[in-house]
């Protein structure tokens, strides 16, 4: 068994109002020095040995992310 992490982020050119809302709120909460925030999704999958990297890429590209507006990164963490 392995743990796999898939991080999905909006493409850089896509407007991210949720990230912006967070960035705007930080100074109001007293935190300085944060110039930008982008918000995405973090998936944690428990996979057995039969699931290879190609399959993971298919899952990430075809389902967990929307390639029209999102990029993804797949990492095996254990």
């Amino acid at each position: 068994m392995a743990r796999v992490v898939v991080d999905v982020m909006p493409k850089p050119e896509i407007l991210d109002p949720q990230g912006q809302a967070v960035a705007n709120a930080l100074p109001r909460l007293g935190f300085a020095g944060i110039t930008d925030v982008r918000q995405g999704k973090h998936f944690e999958l428990e996979v057995d040995d039969s699931v290879d990297d190609e399959t993971l890429a298919k899952i990430a590209e075809g389902f967990l992310s929307n390639p029209v507006v999102e990029d993804f990164v797949v990492r095996r963490v254990s």
């Binding site: 050119e13 896509i14 407007l15 109002p17 949720q18 389902f63 929307n66 029209v68 507006v69």
Partner: protein
């Protein structure tokens, strides 16, 4: 009588309203169940609004894999008219039948308002009943209605005249180029965020500007 399929997924909300709109327009609504790979011989399909699968993962991301959608995609490629309303538009984009994606509203709030639109193409399967450049009022009500796409996609849509509806006066969600609805190259697949099925009767909506959308398709159906 022209038979128009209306799909129900778990979480679909505006199916009965879409069916009513079809009846008001003079068509026969046919209920289609998401698990059935069967369009029951309908002449056109409406993918209605709501929160299919709770908008989990992404709006429309799970519904687009439903057995019924395999049939819809196949039929669409064979020229069947398909209308995606709100969540339906999201599903059609996820399914690749229309370009672009619908993202969280720029204002980060759910917005329900009576929205002024311009009908920019009055010659699609779903807009033939409107005068060209007609200004109509149709309710929008959504949380993830911001149309996004690569600039090249937007340029292509504009260049090919595939922007069917545009927001007027107010852009309620930050959609690029004020795009409210688009079509496939052949004009038979149309997706829009506003809800024409809620504008069929001044008693229950801002007017009856939405009826023409359902009437249009009666003339567009393939023999």
């Amino acid at each position: 009588m022209t038979r128009i399929g209306v799909i129900t997924f778990p979480g679909t909300l505006d199916d009965t309203d879409a069916a009513r709109a079809v009846r008001y327009a003079g068509g026969e609504p046919v209920a289609l169940w998401h698990k059935d790979a069967d369009l029951r011989g309908v002449d056109a399909v409406v993918v209605p609004g709501g929160f299919s699968y709770g908008d989990y993962l992404r709006a429309g991301a799970i519904a687009r894999f439903a057995p019924v959608m395999t049939e819809v995609v196949g039929a669409a490629h064979r020229g069947m008219p398909v209308l995606g309303i709100c969540n339906g538009f999201q599903i059609l984009c996820e399914a690749g039948l229309l370009p672009g994606a619908l993202l969280r509203n720029a204002g980060l709030h759910f917005v329900c308002r009576d929205q002024k639109l311009r009908v920019e193409r009055a010659d699609t399967a779903w807009t033939a009943g409107y005068a060209d450049q007609a200004e109509i009022v149709i309710p929008v009500k959504n949380m993830d209605g911001r149309f996004s796409a690569a600039q090249s996609t937007v340029d292509e849509l504009e260049g090919e005249g595939r922007v069917v509806f545009r927001y007027l006066d107010v852009n309620p969600n930050g959609s690029l180029s004020d795009i409210a609805g688009i079509s496939s190259p052949d004009g038979r697949i149309v997706g829009l965020m506003p809800h024409p099925e809620h504008a069929i009767d001044p008693l229950t909506g801002p007017g009856a500007d939405g009826l023409a959308m359902f009437r249009s398709v009666l003339g567009a159906v393939l023999a």
